[in-house]
């Protein structure tokens, strides 16, 4: 079933015409109402009337996460604050978070795209959706919630955690759709098995994945353990939240809702646009958002676009699952972590050399992060209890910075690898790519 056949199965020509009209409109609104864009466009000598074709989007400047942070908190709003009826933020792990503001129309749009996505996954008003994404500033919980309400299914807004209760409710309420991050899903499945869950007799018919990178092996494993197909949900707070692109029953790529989000792929080094089929950084432009239209946002997610007719009947472009990042961001337990944050935390502690190494593993299907820190003369104590206290102190400082607990290993000085250029700071053993 297709939620919005007119939009999702539109011919490419009609779609391009619609996109151009919307692009011209959004550029004009950004120019007129957002001081940040007004100044930036003027500095570059670009004006709304310069957008005469879709290719003209390449004349517009990129927007980065840093740009958004600089206008914290409400500098990107294109409408008076009273018209904004909800805000969310990115996890804010690298300094100030990015604030995303929504008007009533924007929330309707969010519900619309999530409704399309859930329908793609085969979900309808008969279904019971157990939403394990967190409800709060994080966009995951609410995004799924709005879409589920739009299609009329029953939502269990359980959020993350209370794993045994999740299983109990899943069984007692007859949950038919689970929404989780892949790593939480794997963990849930282990607990489910302990509790006697039988995938053969499960009522589950679909699983929605979000917020993390994953591999096909992981997907197969989760599908086997829950006895239901799993579909990828893509989104980001800066642009809106989950629902920018979602996977259909074909399970070979995510349909981008191009009538609302305009996708481009650029070369990581040259920032030049790449032709369809080539992998590069995904750049997104809000075509319909009213409260906070973002133009050419560099997602730093690596993917490629395929313009082909899908067997599901939709004509929307398909993007491959995210296969990496153009920066050094890591997702650990669903939380965005940058190595620079670890460095920042270490520099706050006297006597610590900023030589460190991050090792991410996934024992028992849950992410674990180890930080190796070089011991120095001033850090070293002759007493075990003091060394253990130092280790704890380092873990506390890092937790303050990134929000998750890590294991600290003290190593000998000069024992961590130093390379000519960029040091090898991160070893990700999770085989995500």
């Amino acid at each position: 079933m297709v939620w919005n056949e007119k939009a999702e199965c539109m011919s490419r020509d009609d779609l391009n015409e619609l996109q151009l009209k919307k692009l011209q409109d959004v550029v004009k609104k950004a120019y007129e109402n957002v001081p940040y864009y007004n100044k930036k466009f003027q500095n570059m000598g670009i004006f709304p009337e310069d957008i005469q074709s879709l290719e003209d989007i390449q004349k517009l400047p990129f927007t980065t996460k840093d740009d958004l942070r600089q206008v914290y908190p409400f500098g990107m709003f294109a409408v008076p604050k009273k018209d904004i009826i909800e805000v969310h933020t990115s996890s804010g792990t690298t300094g100030k978070p990015v604030v995303s503001g929504y008007t009533r129309e924007d929330l309707d749009l969010w519900a619309e795209v999530m409704a399309r996505g859930l329908t793609m996954m085969g979900v309808d008003d008969e279904d019971i959706i157990q939403n394990t994404h967190g409800y709060g500033l994080f966009t995951g919980g609410f995004g799924v919630h709005y879409g589920a309400q739009k299609i009329g299914s029953t939502v269990i807004p359980i959020s993350t955690g209370q794993t045994r209760r999740q299983i109990e409710i899943m069984t007692d309420f007859g949950t038919t759709v689970m929404i989780f991050t892949p790593s939480y899903g794997l963990y849930l499945s282990e607990v489910a098995e302990e509790e006697g869950f039988d995938p053969e007799n499960s009522q589950l018919k679909a699983i929605g994945f979000g917020a993390e990178m994953w591999t096909n092996e992981m997907r197969k494993e989760i599908e086997k353990r829950f006895g239901a197909p799993a579909f990828n949900i893509y989104g980001l707070t800066e642009i809106m939240g989950p629902g920018v692109a979602i996977e259909c029953k074909e399970q070979n790529g995510l349909h981008v809702f191009e009538d609302h989000f305009y996708p481009e792929i650029i070369d990581t080094n040259t920032s030049q646009n790449l032709d369809a089929g080539n992998a590069g950084e995904l750049v997104l432009t809000n075509l319909s958002r009213i409260g906070m239209p973002i133009i050419r946002f560099i997602t730093k997610d690596i993917t490629s676009l395929r313009y082909e007719k899908c067997d599901c009947g939709r004509s929307l472009v398909k993007m491959d699952r995210i296969t990496g990042r153009s920066d050094d961001m890591l997702k650990v337990k669903g939380v965005a972590v940058f190595p620079s944050q670890i460095e920042k935390a270490l520099l706050k502690i006297d006597g610590i050399e900023p030589h460190y190494q991050i090792i991410v593993t996934r024992p028992h299907n849950l992410d674990e992060m180890e930080v190796k820190v070089e011991t120095s003369e001033s850090l070293f104590s002759d007493e075990i209890k003091e060394m253990v206290a130092i280790r704890k102190k380092i873990a506390n400082f890092i937790e303050n910075e990134i929000g998750i607990r890590v294991n600290i290993t003290l190593v000998e000085p000069k024992s961590l690898p130093r390379s000519e250029g960029k040091a090898v700071r991160v070893i990700d053993k999770r085989n995500m790519y």
């Binding site: 002759d382 007493e383 290993t409 190593v411 000998e412």
Partner: protein, 152 residues
């Protein structure tokens, strides 16, 4: 509290070395000393799951420290006190009783055998060595001077 001048001389220099819990690290540390012609008088290791502290008594602590540091080891020099134990049941207990009675909290201790005298030597570490020395003297324990410990 009166501090007897002579007691200062009863402190023994000990080297503490940080060891990562990794294959071959203890060997590398000890081999570094062997190559430098430094003999080890006494040794103790404290360990946790991922690191250990190697404590050593050597005849030339300054030289050994320099040598280890040149080989990227982190070394702390610290003073400890050596007590001679009579080789009979209750020898160690009598020393510990003195400390207990005076509320002295030991950080750690280790023992080795004085081959020439056929006696056990106990090395003690605490945060206030002067008080420790005084308590041991008052209790009638036999302190072993550094020259003798280094030259065992």
């Amino acid at each position: 509290m009166e501090i007897r001048l002579g007691d200062k001389k009863m402190k023994i220099k000990q080297l503490s070395i940080f060891l990562e819990n990794k294959k071959g690290r203890l060997w590398t540390a000890l081999n570094t000393l062997a190559d430098g012609g430094i003999n080890i008088r006494a040794l103790s290791i404290a360990d946790t799951s991922d690191f250990g502290i190697l404590r050593l008594i050597v005849p030339e602590p300054e030289k050994a420290k320099k040598l280890l540091e040149e080989n990227n080891f982190i070394v702390k020099m610290k003073e400890v006190v050596a007590v001679e134990l009579s080789d009979q049941p209750g020898g160690l207990a009598s020393v510990l009783k003195m400390l207990n009675d005076s509320d002295i909290n030991l950080e750690y201790l280790y023992a080795f055998v004085h081959e020439k005298k056929d006696k056990a030597i106990l090395l003690l570490s605490t945060d206030d060595l002067d008080v420790l020395i005084e308590v041991l003297n008052d209790g009638g324990a036999t302190l072993v001077p550094p020259e003798e410990v280094y030259d065992l």
